[in-house]
Amino acid sequence: MEILLAAAIGVLVAAAAYLLLARDLPRALLGFVLLGTAANLSIFAAGRIGTMVPPLVDQGERALAADAANPLPQALVLTAIVIGFGLAAFTLVLIRSAHDAFGTASADEMDEAERPDETPGPAAVAPAAASPSHRREAA
């Protein structure tokens, strides 16, 4: 079972990485979400899997039954899922803002819009002006 799950997680990670490398940011976001899912599954698997019994103490008992699932990774993963959603939503807003500002959702084109020697913005001028003086100083 574990071997199969590890293989599935491997495929998931590979798909996530492939999407992260895409040119358009929405695809990268999907990759981001898949990577989060893969991480959650890995944590879950690392706490050992196999049993179907949830970590609930039976009525009248004081301790968890021996065959119950490990509760700790579940607590970790549960919050991680919600936070992952928050992160995805935040990224989505960023992508939308960037799209509104640059008129594109392609990472490569946004990079060109930021290149200092082509479109000098206030942030881009400073390093460009600083570097020649460095060179003079050192030479």
């Binding site: 949830p54 609930l56 549960l78 919050t79 919600v82 959603f85 928050g86 939503a89 935040f90 989505l92 807003v93 939308r96």
Partner: protein, 138 residues
């Protein structure tokens, strides 16, 4: 955006059923699957569907207060639930306290539940704030 007829008709159902289910999940969460996170998510998804079906204004009206206020209230409640721990000066912050008053029905009063309600409210606030912001019409 014009929601489909099916969505518009089923909207009240999609709002109130999750709301009730979410409260049920919240209350029983300490002893059975459920809790503040899950409950909050279910309630929030009902509100998000409502916003998609009937518009953001309608959903906001159901919520009465802006999502950010829900979020803040939840955080504040969770934050304050830990203060009662200091009845016992030796106890750490967020050490929950339990009282079992002598009543005909078992009614465990405890600060852990208050904390979970804080989580519930914060999750509702967070998710709806983000979702409304994203699905809102320009």
């Amino acid at each position: 955006m014009h929601a489909s007829l099916i969505l518009r008709v089923s909207a009240p159902l999609l709002l109130w059923v999750p709301a009730v289910v979410s409260l049920y999940l919240l209350v029983r969460g300490h002893n059975a699957p459920g809790g503040g996170f899950v409950g909050g998510l279910v309630a929030a998804s009902g509100l998000v569907f409502h916003a998609i079906a009937r518009g953001q204004a309608a959903a906001m009206q159901v919520m009465r207060a802006p999502p950010a206020a829900w979020c803040g209230a939840g955080l504040l409640l969770a934050l304050c639930s830990g203060l009662l721990a200091w009845i016992d000066p030796a106890a750490g912050y967020l050490t929950h306290r339990w009282w079992f008053p002598d009543l005909p029905v078992t009614l465990p009063l405890n600060t852990a539940f208050v904390f979970d309600v804080g989580v519930y409210l914060a999750v509702i606030g967070t998710i709806t704030a983000m979702a409304f912001a994203l699905v809102a019409e320009e």
